[in-house]
Symmetry: C2
Subunit: 471 residues, 2 copies
């Protein structure tokens, strides 16, 4: 809310606020069932006394525009439309309920919401802290961008040719040899999953995922009607896949390097084994490789670099390493697959931001990117060390964890099953936001995905202290 009543107006604060609220209901911006903020909050937002708010709400209630429900909360009433000139409006609530896309889980909606609140200590956020982003360098680099009219029109279906050529060169360092025609630029890795979901899978296809999995916290496949099957790493993997896939198409989603949420990596022999099993069963693999540049030690080969048969769809991005705000990622796959995904991308959003693509091309081609990554890794490592030292001092009796090998996360396991929604909500009340394990595996009440990448060091200390006090 940007609006506040005008204290210099000839109208009373009361009249101004009644008018403002009525207008919102009138215009249909607050539809039937919209919940109003609590009185205290409204008073604060509008900069008036709570008594003024109480008077206003009483008046609107008397007019039948709003109503108080048992159990708390004031809502735009069912009759508000009849009251206001007998208008009709579509039943938006029914529309939303019946539509095909799943809403985010409530816990994730709350995370998205509270992440906007700057007073929260964010212990779970999978994002670089503002002070780890090369903001000033990015700003400065804008001055080096030269635009050509052809580049800022509608994009080629696969994205900027220049960026794709630069990427095909950059990917060689990851052992991936591909041409620019086998690369699609996307608006981040999540969009890649979305396009694959609607462009390469029939309804009810099986999507295999590791256990636990980032995919449980987003819905690119679920919303398109796919069946998710979680599989663990054991000697019976091949049989499990064979038995579960049935007659439907299937696909294996993996984060082999710095897995989200566990932070672990597949060994070389595990990578080879997974490739072999999936090749035999003709199950394509999505390799989500967005964290590999953040490894503290030596890198293992990308699965795509070992792929002899074109069965791996490789997904990369600059969101974890440069800036999520760029919204730039890429897919590497056989050319007919890329053509298909590009066709759907054109039908979805007509391509990604040309400006973001120019910026990424500039950073990759000038070496700015690699230089930045080196320093970023060092800073993340320092954050990891500090976090580990707090954990060792305060958590070692009640929890276990693996030493982080890179990236953002420590998959903190509490000995007792204490990580439930009640804990999540209790922590929010104390201004601490965590990513509970159950959003990655619904049955998991033991884990928290701890991120040392986002909060400041002070916040990490304080947040972990509050967490400890609530266990």
């Amino acid at each position: 809310m940007e609006w506040k009543p005008d204290r210099n107006s000839h109208l009373s604060l009361h009249v101004q606020i009644v008018d403002w609220m009525t207008t919102h209901i009138d215009r249909g911006e607050w539809t039937v069932g919209t919940k109003l903020p609590p009185q205290r909050k409204l008073a604060e937002l509008l900069g008036v006394n709570r008594s003024t708010i109480i008077e206003v709400l009483d008046e609107l209630k008397a007019e039948g525009l709003i109503e108080t429900k048992m159990g708390g909360g004031t809502f735009v009433s069912n009759n508000s439309w009849n009251m206001l000139l007998n208008k009709s409006q579509p039943n938006w609530h029914k529309h939303i309920q019946a539509s095909s896309h799943k809403p985010n889980y409530h816990t994730i909606q709350l995370i998205n919401e509270y992440e906007q609140d700057s007073s929260m200590i964010r212990l779970g956020t999978g994002e670089l802290s503002p002070d780890l982003l090369p903001t000033k360098l990015l700003e400065k680099s804008l001055q080096s961008i030269s635009l050509h009219a052809r580049d800022i029109g509608y994009s080629e279906p696969k994205g900027s040719k220049r960026l794709r050529v630069i990427l095909s060169d950059y990917l060689k360092k990851r052992g991936i040899h591909t041409s620019s025609e086998s690369i699609l630029i996307v608006s981040g890795a999540l969009q890649a999953l979305q396009l694959i979901s609607v462009g390469l899978l029939e309804q009810q296809s099986i999507v295999f995922q590791e256990h636990p999995s980032y995919l449980n916290s987003v819905h690119p496949f679920q919303s398109a009607g796919m069946q998710m099957v979680s599989v663990g790493w054991n000697e019976r993997l091949a049989e499990t896949l064979k038995a579960a896939r049935g007659k439907k198409q299937s696909l294996f989603y993996t984060v082999p390097t710095l897995h989200n949420p566990t932070g672990s990596s597949l060994t070389l022999s595990e990578r080879e084994q997974l490739l072999k099993i999936c090749a035999e069963l003709k199950i394509p693999i999505i390799e989500d490789d967005v964290y590999h540049e953040l490894l503290f030690g030596e890198s293992l080969p990308a699965m795509k670099s070992l792929d002899q048969t074109g069965q791996v769809l490789y997904v990369g991005s600059v969101s974890k390493s440069l800036s999520p705000g760029l919204r730039i990622g890429w897919v590497v796959a056989p050319e007919p697959v890329i053509n298909r995904l590009a066709d759907i991308k054109m039908q979805t959003d007509y391509g990604s931001s040309a400006f973001s693509q120019e910026i990424v091309a500039h950073w990759l081609s000038t070496g700015l990117y690699e230089k930045h990554i080196v320093s970023l890794r060092q800073q993340l490592k320092a954050r990891a060390l500090l976090t580990e030292s707090i954990l060792e001092r305060d958590f070692s009796r009640i929890a276990t964890w693996e030493k982080p090998q890179g990236g953002f996360y420590i998959w903190l396991r509490f000995n007792n099953p204490v990580v439930n929604k009640a804990l999540f909500l209790k922590l929010i009340k104390q201004n601490v936001l965590v990513n509970p394990g159950y959003i990655y595996d619904p049955r998991d009440l033991h884990h928290i995905r701890l991120s040392y990448a986002y909060a400041t060091l002070e916040e990490l200390k304080e947040g972990l202290h509050i967490l400890l006090a609530n266990i």
Copy 2:
């Protein structure tokens, strides 16, 4: 193809090309069924004699890697995998066939493809010509962008708060009074339709569209399983809608100002009538208003500005007026609807480019945008006049059209039903690309959507000349 054989290599051209092609097939970049370019084209691309290409292809054929099909064309053969170390790969073709998203129509795929060919004269492109884009001013404005670390992280679900506040102010000039909380930033208007499709409609919902309609050339609703119903403007509109909607949810998509493809606008009374009919039937309306700033004359009120009940979902964009490469548009709708669409957007691509949002905020808030629009309108008007003069001189005996009131298009109607796919293909052979009417209405063989916005004036003259010669 960026690769060319190296004439200084100790390997012969023949050996290098065989190796290069085998590697592409080997890596799975050219999968089974991939069509190779014609011999002549290959020779040109690789900078070698055609005889070299013929030898290479013969060798690969002998090895069983490629095969020639009756009716023309050389393809990666079915056996290529067995030949190459007996590898297996997923059957990508089957994957693509079975998946849920519809491919673009073949004509539109060809348009997308040939638009990348700079030798084509583009008489149909719905895009500003490179010389109408304020490229240098955009480049210069990058220097005025100051970035804040919080802005280049993951976005708020609804998009940049700053841009939304600026937009809520800007939209007042369009008669639309709304708060920043009722605005969602999207990656262009097409994405808005996509989000509405999966976020507000149940499967098999009815989407009403005008006749002809831009929606027939894209698939945001069709791919999500909606039924499209084209309706015309007549006194029986209410009954038609009532009869057609059945028990399913429905929605009315309209471009009331400078309609795509016809260029016409609804009168004020038509706007009011449509609002009234849809209000009574509780059919929400999507108002696609991306062209209104390009009106040569006086603007009519947006339907959203007349909307008393929150039934209109208003869609705007800078793609037609500033730069499509920015990929920035917006939706204005009741707050619970915006919250829902924002939730799905977060699951789709985690928000639009922060950099593009900063640029649009800068252009809107400094007045650069409005200044640019004034000059753009004048240039479009001059182009429209020239095009009309050519039409009057050469086409008036065989076709009719309305004088353009703004925007990009003249909906040129040929007296005879001559605009079929054969004409479309014949024109491509002569380097002229048109948007035939049948992509907006499958039964229409009379119209071409002529755009005076893209081609240069010379190209317009030449292209229309070639068009005329083929009718």
